[in-house]
């Protein structure tokens, strides 16, 4: 830690000072009148106290303060040096040394001794009973924490002419005011003399500032904390944040600020010219009128904005009401589809026009309803910070977690379901990924490892990534393990991606030791299943010695998807459109050319296919010309043989209910426009089971 270096430096320095203090004190005993010596002792005490408090040695600072106070009196001639004082101060010096040693080795000092020395010193200085103030904190706490309200202030800043000589830059003060909130400053040039009288080292300009801030008047005074001697400051509240609507008239502002006499205003109002022009004629400075106009404008604007904000304020709604709304919208989309289909069948133009209108409205309603449930993923991120902290402490690792894209929005239910997989992946990164500090240092890496958690939008999905700068995946170890577990044949030629993909296989674990954190060999396959249940995908990229990147792609909403409708044996099925790559014809001749191997040549590439009809054991005759829908999953293309492709479909996903939760190959169902039910195919699961059978 950076701070430790400073603490160590302080300790070393304090030991030096204590040595100097000892010799000075002994000398002082022989020359009790020597002002230089007294000054030196005071300075040493002062430095030990000041730096001590800065580096966290509050006990030393508090104790030394007492000694310093006494020597301050000696320095000011209020007290003479006595041998008693020197003895006590020497004892104090030993006590400080003991405190320093204690901070290093942890053996506590004798607190009674400190009390005895302090009591002795106080008695000497003749204020035995009075309580010493002790060390006070530098930063004063802000008073009364109430709900901050944006208040508009009028601030009149009039610097003295010699303000520059104090090193104060008035423009820096104005800039600081601007940081507090919407702020407008109008320079007042009334005091600027004729050019031959101008002293370029003097300041003649004053400022009228209108500022709206919720930080309170103290924050404004803080800006001028160094400048109160060189600057006349007047702060008034002109809008306390409650009123809305219009603001004072120009004339009223000028009178309030004392620029214009009330009777002069009355006179102006009697004639019918523009008030600003008339006020100038009455001897008001043009800049003062500008300032008043700016103030008027500023407050008006603030009030308008406040009104806008009030009407756009958010309301809290129970989450289940929203879920109900989304469900109802889902039903609505379904009914609308039936309605549209009926309208088309009726061939009635009037009826069809209404159906189209309903279709458009339903679409908008659906988008809004789904959008309401979107939440920023940030709250989940901050939960993980704690997890990383606790886990790394438990494992003796130094890990920092950084995040990006915390404001990325995802459906509430998705965020909830992502929690467990993300926890698992983070645990993996911390436990297996990031090495122990010693190992990292030996490998030339910083001792502290980093885990970066990021979320970002990518089209209609969100990509979550977990990146660590740890050891990375061991390709050979994974391969060997996969062979040992019988997941792949020993001579299989696999790409890097395919090898990394093995860690998602059930029952796979390469950890040399099972720890309490992770490494029970369950998990990664479960992670993959949960991500896929959200219709997402997961990918791993890793470089040995440099780290691992895990990317999860999740669709924005789970309830409604774009899908491709196909017909097989008189039933309609739906495939998630996001997985579909292309559709090709598959005539009988091609089928016969396959000779029973389920491989087809598509534009020069051999692609394996799965005949869904056979897979599901559907009755009926295969049509002469079938179609193959080619889908892409985990970087691999697979064909699905169907009777024919119907087209795209907006699909409201319905769960099959608990009775069918073990059905393989189907992830859900939907209700079609004509009221029929169509099943949604679970493509990853179908492909997986075919692969398993082949192996």
């Amino acid at each position: 830690m950076v701070m430790d270096v400073h603490v160590q430096a302080y300790r070393e320095e304090a030991y030096e000072y204590l040595a100097e203090l000892e010799s000075s004190l002994l000398e002082l005993e022989d020359h009790p009148e020597d002002a230089d010596l007294i000054g030196r002792v005071f300075r040493v005490m002062h430095t030990i106290k000041g730096s001590g408090a800065m580096f966290g040695f509050d006990d030393i600072a508090g104790f030394t303060h007492e000694v310093e106070t006494v020597f301050d009196q000696v320095r000011n001639g209020q007290m003479a040096v006595s041998s008693q004082l020197v003895t006590l101060t020497l004892a104090a010096r030993d006590q400080i040394k003991a405190m320093l040693a204690a901070s290093e080795h942890g053996t506590p000092v004798d607190a009674a001794e400190s009390v005895r020395i302090v009591a002795g010193l106080r008695e000497l200085s003749g204020k035995g009973d009075r309580d010493a103030p002790g060390v006070t904190a530098a930063a004063a706490a802000h008073g009364g924490e109430t709900e901050p309200v944006a208040v508009t202030y009028r601030i009149l800043v009039t610097p003295v002419a010699e303000i520059f000589a104090s090193g104060t830059n008035p423009l820096a003060l104005l800039n600081e005011l601007r940081e507090l909130g919407p702020c407008q400053a109008v320079a007042q040039l009334g005091r600027v003399p004729a050019i031959d009288e101008i002293d370029p080292e003097h300041c003649y300009v004053a400022w009228h500032v209108v500022l709206t801030t919720d930080r309170g008047i103290e924050a404004i005074r803080d800006v001028f904390v160094f400048a109160e001697d060189v600057c006349e400051l007047k702060i008034e509240v002109i809008d306390d944040g409650s009123a809305s609507g219009g603001y004072k008239k120009l004339g009223e502002i000028l009178v309030e600020k004392g620029e214009l006499a009330p009777d002069a205003l009355a006179e102006i109002l009697a004639s019918q010219k523009r008030i600003g022009t008339l006020a100038i004629e009455k001897g008001v400075h043009p800049e003062a009128v500008t300032a008043a106009l700016v103030e008027q404008q500023h407050v008006k604007q603030q009030r308008e904005e406040r009104q806008k904000q009030e009407s756009a304020a958010s309301i809290r709604v129970p989450a289940d009401k929203l879920d109900l709304l989304v469900n109802l919208v889902g039903e609505m989309v379904t009914v609308q589809a039936r309605f549209t289909q009926t309208a088309v069948e009726r061939r009635d133009p009037k009826f069809k026009a209404i159906a189209e209108e309903v279709e458009r409205l339903t679409g908008e309603l659906r988008d809004i309803a789904l959008n309401i449930r979107m939440l920023p993923i940030g709250s989940t991120f901050s939960k993980f910070k704690r997890l990383v902290r606790d886990l790394s402490a438990e494992l003796g690792k130094e890990i920092e977690m950084t995040t990006a894209g915390a404001d990325t929005e995802l459906d509430k239910t998705v965020i909830e379901k992502l929690n467990d997989p993300l926890v698992h992946l983070l645990r993996n990164s911390i436990d297996h990924g990031i090495e122990l500090p010693e190992v990292r240092a030996a490998g030339g890496k910083p001792r502290q490892g980093t885990v970066h958690l990021a979320a970002q939008h990518a089209g209609d999905s969100v990509i979550l990534s977990i990146k660590d700068d740890g050891a990375g995946l061991d390709r050979e170890a994974i391969r060997a393990k996969a062979v040992e577990r019988g997941l792949i044949p020993a001579n299989a030629e696999l790409s890097e991606k395919e090898i990394f993909g093995q860690i998602f296989a059930p029952g796979f674990s390469t950890a040399k030791q099972v720890t309490s954190v992770s490494g029970r060999g369950v998990g990664m396959d479960v992670v993959k299943r949960s991500i896929e249940a959200l219709r997402g995908s997961i990918e791993i990229d890793s470089r040995r010695g440099e780290g691992t990147l895990i990317s999860i792609r999740i669709p924005l909403t789970p309830a409604i998807i774009e899908s491709l409708m196909v017909m097989i044996g008189g039933n309609r099925y739906l495939l998630p459109l996001s997985l579909v790559d292309q559709c090709v014809l598959f005539p009988k001749e091609d089928r016969e050319r396959c000779h029973g191997r389920d491989m087809v040549n598509v534009r020069g590439r051999m692609i394996p296919f799965i005949p869904i009809r056979e897979r599901f054991g559907l009755a009926g005759k295969r049509p002469d010309i079938e179609q193959i829908v080619i889908v892409e999953m985990d970087g691999m293309q697979v064909g699905l043989v169907v009777d024919y492709v119907i087209g795209e479909h907006q699909t409201v996903i319905k769960s099959l209910g608990p009775a069918y939760k073990d059905v393989r190959g189907v992830s859900g169902a939907t209700i079609l426009g004509d009221g029929a039910v169509a099943l949604i195919l679970d493509l990853p699961q179908i492909v997986q089971s075919v692969e398993n059978e082949a192996a």
Binding site: T47, M54, A138, A139, T168, F226
Partner: protein, 121 residues
């Protein structure tokens, strides 16, 4: 170009802490061990701001502030003094000598940076 700040303090640990904090904040730093050293260095190199302790051997902070204000190059630069809570009279004396502001010891790096930003604008 990075602004240059001088820290004058007889305590090496305070100097180290101030220097480290300012360098982190992107400033160049010149160190001086007491008022005399500081004044000599001020006449040699251009400094945009001065942070000085009040209690120093050879020449104390008040003397340094007065000396610095007499130099044409330092006439208008911000000067911040480091004081302790027991030195209210010193604070006034420092202001009279031409100090811009003060930081009460003990202070944290963030407080130092806040003051530097405040006076350098």
């Amino acid at each position: 170009m990075a602004k240059t700040i001088m820290t004058a303090d007889d305590s090496a640990s305070v100097r180290q802490m101030v220097t480290f904090t300012l360098k982190q904040g992107g400033y160049d730093v010149v160190e001086a061990v007491d008022g005399k050293d500081a004044l000599q260095k001020l006449s040699q190199c251009k400094v945009d701001m001065l942070i000085t302790d009040l209690n120093m051997p050879n020449l104390d902070g008040i003397g340094l502030i007065k000396g610095a204000r007499a130099l044409p190059a330092c006439k208008f630069i911000p000067i911040i003094m480091l004081t302790t809570e027991s030195q209210d009279s010193k604070k006034a004396e420092g202001k009279a000598a031409g100090a811009t502001g003060w930081i009460v010891k003990p202070f944290k790096p963030e407080q130092l940076m806040a003051v530097v930003k405040k006076v350098l604008g």
